[in-house]
């Protein structure tokens, strides 16, 4: 409540044009100048009178101060004030915009408004937060979710932000699927665009081309299945074999996700393209003309497998490690051999991980944009079609929205298929009871092919990265192979002058911005993601399923659509954040949050509820339980969420391309500019540097987060596992 009053009385109500973090307003006529005044001063001066009704709603809860929590009036007051205050805030925000009234009927009702307002700033933010928590506290006092203030507050908070930053912009954008050229709504337009031949054509069955929808679906299923298998293989190699180079394998599998877009595509072209090293070599060997076989499904598939297997690995490693050894030992004691144990005990217990890994691979493939762009050839997929519907020669936002809807439908399908497959079984293996077993080794019939696949993969990845590093040191990749340092110098030159170091390289600007934004987005993403996962697995509330799908929404939709929908939604009041760093941070949080949620859910469904219960019985509240019991057991999931969101913030491109501005330029959009301009050397040199930086950051995060200690004994033969950080 204090927060709410502070928001209303002390800090400026409206956003400051100089930026969210500029404090110049303290000296510029504060608190009376209309641009920087807090809400209270505005109202007292007779300006912006529509802010006045906020006062009673803020004052209302004062009545509740003296009352007891179980008093009926206490809850009623809080709920009323919170809900009405929040509703009023939203209503005034949307109806009064930058040019006065936003909605035509209000103008006819009240006549034109001589005033206008800009986006909400600190004040609005704090007041909105206060109203939200009045409301949730009221509901908790009513007895919802056992009257647990933390849980209700968290649910309210997550629902509010997901609604504002996911549902609102996306629905806003998707509505345009039904808008005709002269801005009227029509279902005919939708049907016409939806039944387009380019979308659903089945020409490929008879030698022609298939529609983008089919292409995307086939590709996504292939990628989802193959990345899950590969991810499982790596997870097994790392946890359950005597393989010696586990650490380097771990690093190797992480490499592809920290690689900026286009770089893998370029490397694949140099290896397998028409003039690629390997294509030429094989063509000479069997005496055929080198062809363009890589362009299309094969190329995109290879690139996406390289890029997304690590995500499956990150999800699965936690799950594979989490399977309780005592169950496996029990099976062995009952005379099951290793193979049977693996097939009937270990594998079924990994099902939540497998399902989540498949879902992520499927969605990632659907939304991937860079690889199909470089390697797609004539293999059109939805994500590239969406991008060019928006930026192409035919600006057709409606078509983009229709395509996005199709894409969403596929994702929704995959999501429910996953739920159906998992069913209602329990996958809990980590309980409060001591579990000091050691995972059995894989059966040898399985371990040999598993090691073989892992080996081939490792060599392949290594080759790709050697090519990339080499590429950053040559004059002109593929044409002039003289070694040079000049790309690094252009990008990262610095001078030691009188005023200290001067960063003269052309890449520094975007480099620092990217680092800053990624460092901000990563912890926030992990927090929001894990809290959401906790709510979804541990608490029951109405609308949970819809909410769970909602959290996946921003991830499933291609970045381009997110980018444009964010501009459409947040360029105008009440939330006006385009052109700032905040919009980038926000878009990263909500785009990458689902990975935190998935990893969290996968790990949490393995934690026995009795752990929570015993903590609660011992008098801890649910916040303490979350902090002291669940969180430490979730370290692998936290790490996955942190690493993923940090890395994604540094390498994402498709959403970012619309959201970058002069002050906040990101590394990837700089790299793309270079690629467009033929500066492959510079682009690759910059990418290589980013890879090194991210590797360092990932290592640092691993040290910071630390390792879960689940008290398992380490057998002599498997000490190397204990050393792995």
């Amino acid at each position: 409540m204090i927060v709410g009053w502070a928001g209303f009385c002390i800090v400026p109500w409206y956003g400051i044009e100089d930026g969210f973090f500029s404090f110049a307003w303290l000296f510029e006529g504060f608190p009376f100048d209309g641009d920087v005044a807090p809400g209270l001063f505005l109202v007292l001066q007779g300006e912006k009178l529509w802010l006045a009704p906020i006062i009673p709603f803020l004052a209302g809860p004062l009545l509740a101060v003296g009352k007891k929590r179980d008093d009926q009036a206490y809850a009623t007051i809080l709920i009323l004030c919170g809900a009405l205050g929040f509703a009023w805030l939203i209503a005034q925000g949307f109806s009064i915009g930058i040019r006065g009234w936003q909605l035509g009927w209000l103008e006819t009702l009240f006549g034109p408004l001589g005033d206008r307002q800009f986006g909400m700033g600190y004040g609005g933010l704090l007041v909105a937060t206060a109203f939200l928590f009045f409301f949730t506290q009221g509901i908790a006092a009513r007895g919802a979710v056992n009257g647990d203030i933390f849980v209700v507050g968290a649910i309210g908070f997550v629902i509010a932000i997901v609604t504002i930053f996911v549902f609102y912009p996306i629905l806003n954008m998707l509505a345009s699927a039904f808008i005709t050229q002269d801005n009227t709504y029509s279902i005919v337009v939708f049907v016409e665009k939806f039944t387009d031949r380019r979308l659903w054509g089945l020409g490929c069955l008879s030698g022609g081309r298939c529609g983008a929808a089919w292409n995307s679906l086939i590709l996504a299923i292939l990628v989802g299945a193959l990345t899950t298998i590969l991810g499982l293989i790596f997870a097994l190699v790392v946890t359950r074999t005597g393989f010696r180079f586990k650490r380097s394998l771990r690093a190797m599998t992480v490499l592809p996700i920290i690689t900026p877009p286009f770089v893998i595509g370029l490397a694949i072209i140099l290896l397998f393209g028409q003039s690629g090293t390997i294509t030429r070599f094989v063509a000479d060997l069997i005496d055929v003309t080198p062809g363009r076989w890589v362009y299309g499904l094969p190329g995109v598939l290879i690139a996406q497998l390289l890029a997304f297997t690590p995500i499956a690995f990150l999800v699965l490693i936690g799950v594979v490690e989490g399977v309780s050894p005592s169950m496996e030992e029990a099976a062995q004691t009952l005379r099951a051999n290793r193979w049977n144990t693996f097939r009937t005990v270990s594998l079924p217990l990994m099902r939540p991980g497998l399902a989540n890994a498949f879902l992520l691979g499927f969605i990632e493939s659907m939304a991937d944009f860079g690889n199909p762009l470089v390697l797609g050839g004539n293999f059109d997929v939805l994500s590239t079609e969406i991008f060019f519907a928006i930026v192409g020669a035919q600006y057709d936002q409606g078509r983009a929205a229709v395509l996005a809807l199709v894409l969403l439908a596929f994702t929704l399908g995959a999501f429910y298929a996953q739920r159906f497959w998992l069913g209602k079984k329990s996958y809990t293996t980590m309980t409060g009871k001591g579990d000091s077993g050691v995972h059995p080794l894989l059966p040898s019939g399985l371990s040999i092919p598993v090691l073989l696949v892992a080996g081939i993969w490792t060599v392949f990845t290594a080759t790709i990265y050697m090519m990339i590093i080499y590429g950053s040191f040559v004059e002109l990749w593929g044409v002039n192979n003289d070694l040079t340092f000049k790309h690094y110098l252009t990008a990262f030159a610095m001078k030691f002058g009188e005023e200290g170091i001067r960063w003269t390289g052309s890449a520094w600007d975007s480099f620092w911005t990217t680092l800053q934004i990624a460092a901000m987005a990563a912890p926030l993403t992990a927090i929001v993601g894990l809290v959401t996962a906790y709510l979804l697995t541990r608490q029951n509330f109405a609308g949970k399923n819809a909410f769970e799908f909602g959290t996946m929404l921003s991830f499933a939709i291609p970045g381009t659509v997110i980018g444009v929908s964010y501009i459409l939604a947040f360029n105008v009041p009440p939330i006006e954040i385009t052109g700032t760093g905040i919009i980038l941070v926000v878009s990263f949080i909500f785009r990458n949050m689902p990975v935190g949620v998935r990893a969290g859910i996968a790990s949490m469904s393995q934690l026995d509820k009795s752990l929570d219960e015993s903590s609660l019985t011992l008098g801890a509240n649910s916040w303490q339980t979350f902090l002291n019991v669940i969180l430490p057991l979730l370290k692998p999931a936290i790490l996955a969420a942190l690493v993923y969101s940090f890395v994604r913030a540094m390498t994402a491109i498709s959403a970012v391309i619309f959201l970058v501005s002069a002050d906040y330029n990101m590394a990837t959009s700089y790299i793309i500019g270079r690629v467009e301009n033929n500066d492959y050397g510079l682009a690759i040199a910059y990418s290589t540097s980013l890879i090194v930086v991210m590797l360092a950051a990932v290592g640092l995060l691993q040290i910071l987060v630390g390792r879960t200690n689940v008290g398992r004994r380490m057998s002599q033969s498997r000490t190397n596992l204990a050393e792995t950080p």
Partner: protein, 341 residues
Amino acid sequence: MRTKYTGIVVLAAALAASTAMANAAKLTFYCSAQEDWCQSMARGFEEATGIDVNMTRKSSGETFAQIKAEASNPKGDVWWGGTGDPHLQAAEEGLTEPYVSPMRGELNDWAISQAESAGDKTIGIYSGALGYGYNEDLLKAANLPEPKCWKDLTKPEYKGHVQMANPNSSGTAYTTLATMVQLFGEDEGFDFMKALHKNINQYTKSGSAPIKAAGRGENTIGIVFMHDAVKQAVSGFPIKVVAPCEGTGYEIGSMSIIKDARNPDEAKKFYDWALTQEAQSRALDVKAYQVPSNKGAKTSPSAPDLSSIKLIDYDFKKYGSSAERKRLLKKWDDEVSTLPQ
């Protein structure tokens, strides 16, 4: 609540130090040319006037999408560079502001006619002719004759060797389509596109991709703007540039002032400055081989010489309009892209 606080504290701590206040004159500049050219224009204008420039570089399609999305609350002031079609489209949709610059006397006729066809809402700043380039090494390796004309590209021996962009996604490819329609007449133009379709190995998404693929040896012939091909050749790739013998169309890179800009006076200053001889000669420093619209600006010897190329009388008003564009693209979709290859 704690999450919220942690978030705000982290946010504030990380950025508090990094921002500064600025109340001086400033200009938000959307640039759709290549990165270093954009930089050169932004810095040059800062030096010439002392006005702070915030430059954002995006392709012309992306910039158009952004300006359209921002229309109710424009953030940009002036949009410079990129092919003329999206500028014309922006003018048609009322996203840009009419302005008659005092500099018009120094400009080539084609730049002025671009402005006139859009009700003074845009103006030509450079132009470039359409053509194609081929990879000499690959052509030799495949024992193919050197193509000289548009019609050469439809010969069966070039099957699988030609690349162009998809006119649905690329302005370059749409210019190609419109050029053929104007050069050969609509029926014959579409016959040409159908014959060409048999030889195409890929319709790329972006306009300059075919020649970049040719540079890397991934494709033999790419249909692009000639200055893009020249750039590849100058960068060291084995590319030869061809001005087709039948004549060809061209694009006019344009500049517009965004409607309801926040800094309209600075935008006009930039507009006038960008049309000067001095500003346009900057293209040379960044290896941009387009032909500048100011008659006095310097040109490069490697640039395609427009006076020696047969140029058609390209009707920007007709072929830049949304209706005609939709009609031609639909016809291409229905009649050309569905043919077997």
